[in-house]
Symmetry: none
Subunit: 211 residues, 4 copies
Amino acid sequence: MSLAAPHPPHDGPTRGRPRSEAVERAIIEGTMKLLEDGVPLSELSIERIARTAGVGKATIYRRWRDKEELFVDVLRTAEPPDPELPGTSLRDDLVVLLETLRRRGQADRTSAILHNVRAQMKSSPKIWAAYDSTVIAPRRRAGLDVLRRAQRDGELRADTDVELLYDILVGPMLMRAVLRRTADLPEGLAEQIVDTLLEGLRPVSPPTAPH
Amino acid sequence: MSLAAPHPPHDGPTRGRPRSEAVERAIIEGTMKLLEDGVPLSELSIERIARTAGVGKATIYRRWRDKEELFVDVLRTAEPPDPELPGTSLRDDLVVLLETLRRRGQADRTSAILHNVRAQMKSSPKIWAAYDSTVIAPRRRAGLDVLRRAQRDGELRADTDVELLYDILVGPMLMRAVLRRTADLPEGLAEQIVDTLLEGLRPVSPPTAPH
Amino acid sequence: MSLAAPHPPHDGPTRGRPRSEAVERAIIEGTMKLLEDGVPLSELSIERIARTAGVGKATIYRRWRDKEELFVDVLRTAEPPDPELPGTSLRDDLVVLLETLRRRGQADRTSAILHNVRAQMKSSPKIWAAYDSTVIAPRRRAGLDVLRRAQRDGELRADTDVELLYDILVGPMLMRAVLRRTADLPEGLAEQIVDTLLEGLRPVSPPTAPH
Amino acid sequence: MSLAAPHPPHDGPTRGRPRSEAVERAIIEGTMKLLEDGVPLSELSIERIARTAGVGKATIYRRWRDKEELFVDVLRTAEPPDPELPGTSLRDDLVVLLETLRRRGQADRTSAILHNVRAQMKSSPKIWAAYDSTVIAPRRRAGLDVLRRAQRDGELRADTDVELLYDILVGPMLMRAVLRRTADLPEGLAEQIVDTLLEGLRPVSPPTAPH
DNA sequence: TCCTAATCGAGACGGTACGTCAGGTCTTCTT
DNA sequence: AAGAAGACCTGACGTACCGTCTCGATTAGGA
């Protein structure tokens, strides 16, 4: 993913010393290292990040307006890639989508970081908007596509509110991962949710064709 | 509700001048006023709260270890009271529970405050734990009670995982309120969710008796 | 010496619980103990004095308006008593006066305290005035009396400016003790000064009679 | 005089933005302005100095460890320059030296400041040491030189203790200026002291040559 | 023997200043 | 020009005292 700098260098022809990509990486990876080392979010000052990355403060401010904008890029870099969908059936697709979500809430090395940073970002509206539009919304759109296609193919009743259905599918996972910080969601949870929910939503007549 | 001071005054008999409850109220209400006036959470310094409440900084630190602990009490004071359940049927109880949750996520005067403060609190583990154990957990327990009683009364299939069901019920509401900050959840949403979900969970034989 | 309270208890007949003299002593001696233990003057807060003396702050403020007024009384209590003058000759009296002054500037247990406190008091005009009028001025008056009597008795030339002479006698002792903190003024210094100075001040004709 | 910063900026080659001399001046002159305006020493907080000078507190702490160290520099800047000695005779030199001292104790605009600050400094040993070694001691050395030269030239008896003589000369001036805050020492005082003291110290044989 | 009133230790109260730290901006020299 | 370094102003941090003010508990007279 491109680390498009929020502060573009300049428009005209390239003048002066070009910005070093190595510096860019050093800053982001330095931040992640600090987070992995258990430094609480509240102690993550720009000053400390600059020290860790061996970089001047101005070099950071030249690229990101403030701490939060930097965090969006740190998150973008750390997020695991979105999964390939099998496409064999609505159930299979949904299970894969939810299973990905489940793993994201787990307590592996980087997820704990993501979890914390995401939680803090929600209190900063404009940054949340940026993260939402570049990370959350696309993922949601993909999920809705799966449901709509299933509806078109007759795997889902025509009168189903797919937006609500999506939230009902995804909500409990979030409920458990984000809010209750259980951090060890059981393995079969994704299938359990999907199976529980798809029960009453199947059309009476069998689907015309699997997609 | 009692504002149990995180820094207890002393153990033995009451010695010295007792702490003023009026001051306690002034601090909490001053904080709420600032939040209502749209002051962003990041600009809510102890210094400013003290100024607003007409109170010395030490007077605040005497009661709360830090900003987050103060917020827990602000929240406790501001939270609307939990609803009375009609008890006429499982569906009615659930609709009331979810409707309350929906309204809590709305953009009325105080809810916006709660929303923001709660979001920030999640990045502070120990404070979240305190809020969770005194506010969130009791509410969850009440919800689970409703489901278990319905199961005992035959309104719900015996093999239903009530914990999962609760998360499935509550999750979408949270999904929309907390994460997507829609802030205007439609009126009928609670009924819609309940009706959608209860479909496949009714026992085959009719319930022995409504509770 | 009476520790006349700057805040007199009341005018009328003695009503209510009388002030405890034990408390008065505890405060002054507690302050002296702190000073002896080497606590720098700048760290001598009323709060700490109260803690040390096992006394409420108000109990101190009831007696002294502020720290400086308290120090005046501490000094008055600690000052060594003024010496008896032999009266055998001008030279003998002066040597005793100056010798006393020399010892006051020495580094024995309490003198270091007096030295420090006196130095600080000079930066607080009204307190200095109080100390000056009750301690310094009487001592000076005694010194001038010695000189005037000697002048009357013919031991000193009639045209001598006794005030200036007193300052010339006392000045070097101060110069060395207060300013240069030598703290070990040589034993014979008093005699040396007196002998050096009295040289040119003797009247041509011998004194009519020793007093 | 160079305002050597007590907190040296760095060792190696000049890196980063250099410290602003204008800021240095603003701080010192702001402090002097406050003192001239009659602000008591006890109300001279770093906070207030920073406000007056239009400067951040950290900018002050970057240069001086504490209030007292700052005062040393304020004094150094405010002290009137040491006088040129006429060199025509011992008496003339001494009169000039003492006359300078007398004027320093006077109540002109800045002298009151110096007086107060000096008085307070004496209660802070290490700061006094700094002031003593950079201001007081050199002045004393110059005075002793005058006496020793006079002794070599036969203007003074060979057995005179010049150190004691210096203290005897300077002491009364200090006695009056510092201790008794008379603040209006009479014009002829310097000559009066010198003439009174030199009386008995002249050698029997006339000096070989004026220096 | 009660009553009144000032005292006592304790500590809360509104403030002010402390010395530190971080946020962003700006200047300097080096690359 | 970009970069590292670090000075700069601003303002919050949490602590310590200031001098005042309640508390409950004494400790004396005077009724």
